[in-house]
């Protein structure tokens, strides 16, 4: 099922997730966390993956990386194609070689994501020594280059410092330097700025955008903040209860969302052009993933919901401009400009 929002290149997408299903089997029951996610990424592109907490953004990313804890996680079905090969069919050793070297990832909380007892220089250089086979001296030289690249001031002097000695923003830069060590073609940034101050957030976003451009990587930017992605992303995939419910070009999506959930998200960010408007929020809570409602999983919270929404699961509707929306009334929502 090619996603129509951007045409498939002749030799396929760089990275493509197809109809992925992941569940977590715990003592309390089975949580259906990912229920048919499909998205793709082409070289040099930035895809933003957006959604509330618990919608499955990180789990999808970890499935791509192959770092889900199995058990409790269990990939039920789907494909994750990288350069045409389905990663899910590869053995652990082959997947390990792809991690870091082809697809790298940075995490939300750099303080806990970095090992507290090793100096940052050691941690960045580890990939170079262990994976690229660089000598200590070469790894050290390259580590300083990487730290310069992510704009850590006085990099050479900070090699021996420990993660807790850095500010939040600098720590995230260390994470980024570490992820870039092996020149990956895809970088997955899982809420890279959520733990940071607003001004630092902007700096990190700028840095990521610049690095993506300069290094020619493709970037998957996971966030729950629509405001963050506007200037950086090419396309947006909106997730809800383990599904992509809307997938569109950034500008098209901002101009006219075609799914009530996206519409709700957009209405909950303050707009500079509408003074004194009341911020609306989406009522209710995301569903319990052990008991996802029948039909459209969003129906208990949806202002557009009708009987058909309870009875039938909406499939992806392709709208005129090539975008998709998993809503029975996608066109109607799209045309309803009353925001």
């Amino acid at each position: 099922m090619p996603t129509p929002v951007s045409p498939t290149p002749p030799d396929g997408h760089l990275l493509e997730v197809r109809d992925l299903h992941v569940e977590f089997r715990t003592g309390e029951g089975v949580a259906r966390v990912i229920n048919g996610v499909s998205y793709h990424l082409d070289a040099g592109e930035t895809l933003a993956v957006l959604g509330e907490s618990g919608s499955g953004k990180s789990v999808t990313a970890q499935a791509i990386m192959g770092i889900l804890d199995t058990p409790p996680a269990h990939v039920r079905s789907g494909e994750i194609r990288y350069q045409g090969r389905d990663l899910l069919t590869l053995g652990e050793e082959e997947r390990r070689r792809i991690r870091g070297a082809e697809i790298a990832m940075i995490f939300q909380d750099a303080l806990s994501a970095l090992n507290p007892v090793f100096p940052v220089g050691w941690q960045i250089g580890e990939s170079l020594r262990q994976r690229a086979g660089l000598s200590r001296a070469d790894a050290r030289r390259r580590t300083v280059e990487l730290m310069d690249l992510v704009r850590i001031p006085a990099a050479a002097k900070r090699l021996g410092d420990y993660p807790h000695q850095f500010s939040g923003g600098m720590r995230q830069r260390v994470m980024i330097a570490m992820a870039l060590a092996l020149d990956p073609k895809v970088l997955i940034a899982d809420e890279p700025t959520t733990a940071l101050d607003v001004t630092v957030q902007a700096q990190i976003m700028d840095l990521l955008a610049d690095l993506r451009r300069d290094l020619g990587m493709a970037l998957i930017l996971i966030t729950h903040d629509l405001g963050v992605v506007a200037g950086v992303a090419d396309r947006i995939a909106v997730m809800y209860a383990g599904r992509i419910i809307e997938h569109a070009d950034v500008r098209a999506l901002y101009r006219a969302p075609a799914h009530p959930y996206t519409k709700g998200l957009l209405e909950s960010i303050p707009r500079l052009d509408v003074r004194g408007q009341a911020l609306s929020t989406i009522r209710g809570l995301p569903p319990n993933l052990m008991r996802i409602p029948p039909g459209c999983p969003f129906h208990p919270r949806c202002p557009y919901a009708r009987q058909v929404c309870v009875d039938e699961v909406p499939h992806d509707l392709v709208l005129g401009d090539g975008r998709t929306s998993a809503c029975h009334f996608a066109q109607e929502v799209h045309d309803d400009r009353a925001r």
Partner: protein, 312 residues
Amino acid sequence: MLRFILRRLLQMVLAFFGTTLIVYALMFAGQGDPIQALAGERPVTAAQRAYLTEKYHLDATGVGGFFYRYLNYLGGLLRGDLGQSLTGRQIGDILAAAWPVTVKLAVIAMAVTILVGVTAGVIAGIRRAGVFDHATLVLTLLVLGIPTIVLAPLAQYFLGVRWPIFPPTAGAQPSLWALLLPGIVLGSLSLATALRLTRTSVSENLRADYVRTARSKGLVRRRIVGVHVLRNSLIPVVTFLGVELGNLMSGAIITEGVFNIPGVGFNLFRGIRTEDGPLVVGIVSVLVVVYLLSNLVVDVLYAVLDPRIRYE
């Protein structure tokens, strides 16, 4: 760090005065007849009484007299003179003979703890909820549930008498071989605790965020567990082992008693039994120093192992 060590040394001096004072007071104050208390149950002749009165400055009475005697004793301690036991031997000599035995015993116990306890703990932590983990849980609960006072004679009877694999008692100049069984008995408790601690620490660290990062770097599992997880997991374990070594160095009264090992604990126990006041106070004073020093070493070690800890 230096300031921390200096401050701790100062605290140690205070703790040293405090504890020796308490032990000294418990041993000698509030007794109707200090000389009789000194001598225990043996009869005291007039000549002995005069000698002891003179020696311990017993002519000064009341609180003032007590402190006078305490300070006098302390003065001797600081000059390295622990005084004489009631049997007339230099307490310094007794300790010089007993300590190497206790240290040997402690080293055996520690070696067993590390080789068996920490290793098994790491394996149990990696294979959490597996057969090995459950088996070690049962065994360690068993060991932790049996007090040494029961375990030591049992081991002695079964492994020393019934099936004489080991010598049942150690004797005056015990060889390493003779100390092996008591060392294992003594170490079994630290072994069980170290195993539980290591296991918990490893299994917790395996779930830490930095492990996910290490995996996303494409490192092999051996390196993730052997370097990243182990280095973090062993911080509390090493700290525990340090404290435990300090405890073991202070002698093991029960184990040394049961196996007849002439170590520090054995002598301390004999001092208590024969109400040999000077011997007890002498040994305890030295033990206090050993204990305080080992705690200081542990704190410094902790800061060395965990870069996040900075004592100021």
